[in-house]
Amino acid sequence: MVNKLITEDTKLFMTGNETVAYAAVAAQADIMYGYPITPQNEVMHTWAKLLPKTGALFLQTEDEISAGFATLGGVVAGKRAFTATAGPGHVIMQDAMSMAEMMRLPAVYVVLARGGPSTATVIYSQQETTLAVFGGNGEGFRIVYSTWSNQDLYDYTIKSFNTAWKYRYPTYVLADGYQGKMREPVVCYDPASRGITMVPTDPYVRAKGRPGVDRPPCHIRNAFSVEEELLEAMEDYQKDFDRIAPEIEEYYTYKADDAEILVIAHGIVARSVVTAVDILREEGIKVGLFRPVTLRPLAVKPLREAVSRAKQVLFTESALGQLARICLEQMYGLTTPYDTYYRPGYGIVGEDIVQKVKQMQKNLVTT
């Protein structure tokens, strides 16, 4: 059992990467597997530094493929296991994530997105959204939380462990390099103090009892012999996913109710939208934010309602429309016109959105 470091509410001023490690300790994660890649390194550094106090375990593997699969090893052994990665590491880790999807294994993956494609920058982007949501050779049977602050990183890292183990789908905490490196105050707490009980992590292998005597031996696989078997599994997974989606979906809005221009953004970009909304509202421009917190499953109904109410929609992200694609598919049939403000791999600030919205507003007046 991992020792708790935080028993009463403690405000700490730390980076997002440190926050993830502290949150994983608070969630009583047993073991982290990881491989160095910027900008997530300090998650591992912090986790490793805390080991003497937590009594948890850590393994630095030979690459992200191994980190991803070893995490699943930890999971089947009944441990609350996780890993963190970014960019090209995230790409090769999809191999393991895809296996987790097929075997319904509840691992937690923290992704601090960096510039792409390829090596690109070690800094920041929102270009790993499609990969997080639909990566792997499958159907995106996974849960993806997109955070926008260090407090969010703390809250959702804890939450992701319970979501993963409760619903048995691999679960992502998707952030970015800015959040990883950014220092911001965080209120750390013991999940129990918020009424959060950690979902038990029962072992698949080496469970109690003698295999073949007290219980059947565990045989888990990701390969099927025939099409019919696969179809049946996929239909079951989809049915399950649709059933649990309403329990998991989360979104956040800011002054969206009467917004004529609705800005749709996720993660840290949504914070810049809040800044822009405040500036624009002072000037009398009715603008609001819709921020999907879960990118998968998406809160479709609230999204459609907010979009229906608006006269125009603006998608903004530090990528070329990865979030927009996910949303637009679910907005089929709605006639609200939309515009875009994309800055792949580049930080978007409030002023950028202010200018863009003002330009859109001119069109709104003339049309």
């Binding site: 375990l57 493929i65 070893a70 009944g78 080496r206």
Partner: protein, 255 residues
């Protein structure tokens, strides 16, 4: 009067008899290797502590072959899944079962690093000199001149390099006192069982990484009849030296 003796074949308790006939091709070496592993586990009474992981390729067909807890993984990724388990639950006897492609090609980095890190686990690698499940392509272990689907005119050393000497490689990066490394053959199951028992004991004792390669048969892809199949195995044995490369003092007594 003729008396018919009705003696059922001897089966290891660590082997799952409930699945009926195995899914391996007739004449394949996997079944006998796994049966031997089953006896080794039985004799050492390690069934409860063991976790068996199998790769992609023909080895995946072993996913329910054993009656020990089993995980089937991706191609080349059995080693990290198994050390993920043994790191999380020390004392587990982790067995990563794979073919020559899984261990020496797509998963070679895991074999090298698990060995150098001295992961407390065992890799059991079946060498049949080709990729069986995908239809008989060249493997890292394909013999010089051997015809495969991707070397239809025979493996050309100039173009494809020399066959991969796995146990020799593992022996060169591991520790005399901690690691067990051997190459066995399905030609000599008594010896293979001893090798497997020593490897398992070494892991069960918590000493360290153990590696056994098994020279095996693939008559379907080799396109050989019974006689030629065993002739081919002899050829392999003359190229790949059968025997022990590293034996820690403590396991020498294990027979």
């Amino acid at each position: 009067m003729v008396q018919i003796l009705d003696i059922p074949p001897k089966q290891a308790d660590a082997v799952n008899c409930e699945i009926g006939p195995s899914k391996f091709c007739p004449g394949c070496g996997h079944g006998i290797t796994l049966n031997t592993l089953g006896f080794a586990i039985d004799e050492l009474e390690l069934k409860e502590r063991s976790v068996f992981g199998c790769d992609i390729g023909c080895s995946l067909l072993a996913w329910n072959f054993m009656s020990v807890d089993s995980v089937q993984t991706h191609h080349g990724r059995t080693t990290p899944v198994i050390y993920g388990i043994t790191r999380a639950v020390p004392g587990t006897v982790g067995i990563a079962y794979m073919g020559d492609g899984g261990g020496y090609a797509i998963g070679a980095q895991h074999l090298v690093n698990a060995a150098t890190r001295n992961e407390k686990m065992m890799v059991l690698l079946v060498n049949n000199t080709n990729y069986g499940m995908t239809g008989g392509q060249m493997a890292p272990t394909t013999l010089p001149g051997q015809k495969t689907e991707t070397t239809p005119y025979g493996r050309d050393i100039e173009a494809h390099g020399k066959p991969f000497l796995g146990p020799e490689m593992v022996a060169s990066i591991t520790d005399e006192k901690l690691n067990y490394v051997a190459r066995g053959s399905v030609n000599n199951l008594r010896q293979l069982k001893t090798f497997l028992k020593r490897a398992l004991t070494n892991v069960a004792d918590g000493r360290g990484f153990s590696f056994v390669e098994v020279l095996s048969l693939c008559p379907l892809n080799w396109r050989t009849n019974n006689v030629d199949t065993w002739e081919r195995l002899k050829e392999m044995e003359s190229f790949y030296k059968v025997g022990e490369l590293k034996v820690p003092e403590e396991v020498k007594g294990v027979k």
